[in-house]
């Protein structure tokens, strides 16, 4: 039986356009989803549960609307959910990481699963900060995860006792296989699995599963707040991307199109005439 925590963030749907109003992102009418990478992490936890038996706890730090994401996680098979409201006034990766670490520390978990990064803020920072604060090893960008002892994983010798995780991870296109002693934190890369959809009975069951709400004031000591404030960063402004200059269509036969394109790319020194550099 494994005790697994899945870190989960509710984010904008990736098909949403971003509208900036008065220097902030306008959330009105936007569709929210579970961060796609966190969905892979959750799905992996469910598969581990099917294979080995496990208890799955999903945790999110975020506004009230995040309960929808947590209910969806319960509907696909997580056992309990925790929503943490961040009232530290910092709302940045380090405060979120401290809140998560404080919540997880007393739980004695075997495995923490999280997404490689959130598709909104995109830092990929919170999960690894949690690993550091809890002094756990980690592997990021997993595309395959196996759990078990040395014998089950057919490994002859290990420097550690107990269960380990064997992870295949994406390292800039190469696949690296790493071993970690449990407890550990693993982040999910796309390709790890194909997340399931909630079933109607699952949605009904989820309504009865525990969803606890915690506040940052319940979780943080004054020394945590000192550390969080030392690591503070602030967002001064949100800006739209620079508009691209208008383009042009290249017409003619395929031969003409190809030669005309190459001519222009060479003329503008975008590609070199004399072979690659």
């Amino acid at each position: 039986m494994f005790k697994i925590v899945v870190l989960l963030k509710q984010t904008f749907d990736t098909e949403e356009k971003i509208h900036i109003v008065n220097g902030a992102v306008n959330e009105e009418g936007a569709k929210f989803i579970i961060n796609p990478y966190d969905e892979y992490a959750l799905e992996e936890a469910l598969r581990i549960k099917e294979q080995h038996d496990a208890e799955i706890i999903v945790i999110s730090v975020g506004p009230e609307r995040s309960t929808h994401a947590l209910r969806s996680a319960l509907a696909v098979g997580a056992d309990q959910a925790i929503l943490i409201a961040d009232h530290t006034n910092y709302s940045q990766s380090s405060s979120v990481a401290h809140l998560l670490a404080a919540t997880i520390r007393p739980m004695k978990v075997d495995l923490i699963l999280a997404g490689l990064f959130a598709v909104d803020s995109g830092s990929g920072s919170v999960a690894l900060q949690v690993a550091q604060l809890l002094q756990l090893p980690h592997a990021s960008a997993a595309i395959k995860i196996q759990l078990g002892n040395a014998e089950q994983l057919h490994i002859k010798e290990l420097p550690w006792d107990g269960n380990v995780a064997r992870i295949e991870r994406d390292v800039e296109g190469d696949t690296e296989t790493v071993l970690l002693p449990l407890p550990a934190l693993i982040t999910a890369q796309q390709g790890l699995n194909d997340p399931r959809y909630p079933s109607l009975p699952g949605i009904m069951k989820a309504k009865k599963k525990p969803l606890t709400e915690l506040f940052s004031s319940d979780l943080l000591q004054s020394e945590d707040l000192t550390k969080i404030s030392a690591s503070a960063t602030s967002c001064e402004q949100i800006l739209p991307p620079d508009a691209r200059p208008p383009g042009q269509f290249i017409t003619g036969t395929a031969q003409q199109q190809a030669s005309s394109l190459l001519e222009q790319l060479i003329e503008r020194s975008i590609i070199k005439k004399g072979g690659d550099s």
Partner: protein
Amino acid sequence: MSNHIVIVAERKGTTLRRVTLEAITAATTLLIGHSGTIHAFLSGSDDDNSLIASAKEILQYGVHEVYIAKHAHFEPSQATIILPALTDVIRELQPTYVVIGHTSYGRELSPRLAAALHSGYIADVTSIESSEDKISFIRPIYAGKAFERRQFQGVAPYVVSIRPNNNVPATLVEPVTITNPDEHIHQVKCEGIQLSSIVQHVVKRINEGIDLTEAEIIVAGGRGVRGAEGFAILKQLADELGGAVGASRAACDAGYCDYALQIGQTGKVVTPQLYIACGISGAIQHLAGMSQSRTIVAINKDREAPIFSIADYGIVGDLFEVVPLLTAQLREIRQ
């Protein structure tokens, strides 16, 4: 007070990665208007004699001191294992900033370093604005659908990771001559290093040697490529151009290629000099991952495809016809 900046150097094999040179430029920007020095942290295996040559090369780019951390467990490099050695160097030097490449390695190292030091961390920075009283960091959010301007509010050291391909790399136009380079190269005591993870093996995949996020040229395919065979055609053009192959989510979901190649809001965000989109319609989530490319070429049968709205050059046509012609003509020109 003078400012120190520590950059974390990264190598591919025994060659310095370009992002390390970009980090030197970033460090120089951070020092504008201040007196200060740039220090580099370089790590590798305990029997790796090429580290000294790399250290000397780093010095030529204007870095003042290089700290080499050597340990049997440092190759292949695992961020968690190297972290204590880096943390020791930073505690000793007390730099204002630590600059790290936002690469596969840097993305793992930076958050753990920030948490270990209780430091602020601004990730994936695409540009640095330095004025007399304020330094701001610009970084994409929503994969480039918007940007934010951030500042550090807390206590130094501050950790910054920079996105590859966005800062001008330091050059050797005027190499710094150092009479006694050995005096500027220091060995780090690597104590208390623990084997917290073991690399069993590494399998090299497509795009050998070229990382998508660092590639200068990318030839990417979408659903219109219709299969793995279609991607072989794109690969030929990419090889001829010295670039890498990428893909849209639709192509990955359809199983035409590996997810490691996916470009978009899920997947990799890329900023090459030239992006050639073949058979990609241009879903919002794909555009987010590539619309900051310098020059965009789109090849698509459908004139109404959204990809054309951000393309510098649009070709309405059949990629199976146009792409091989591009490869062939390029080969001819270059002979």
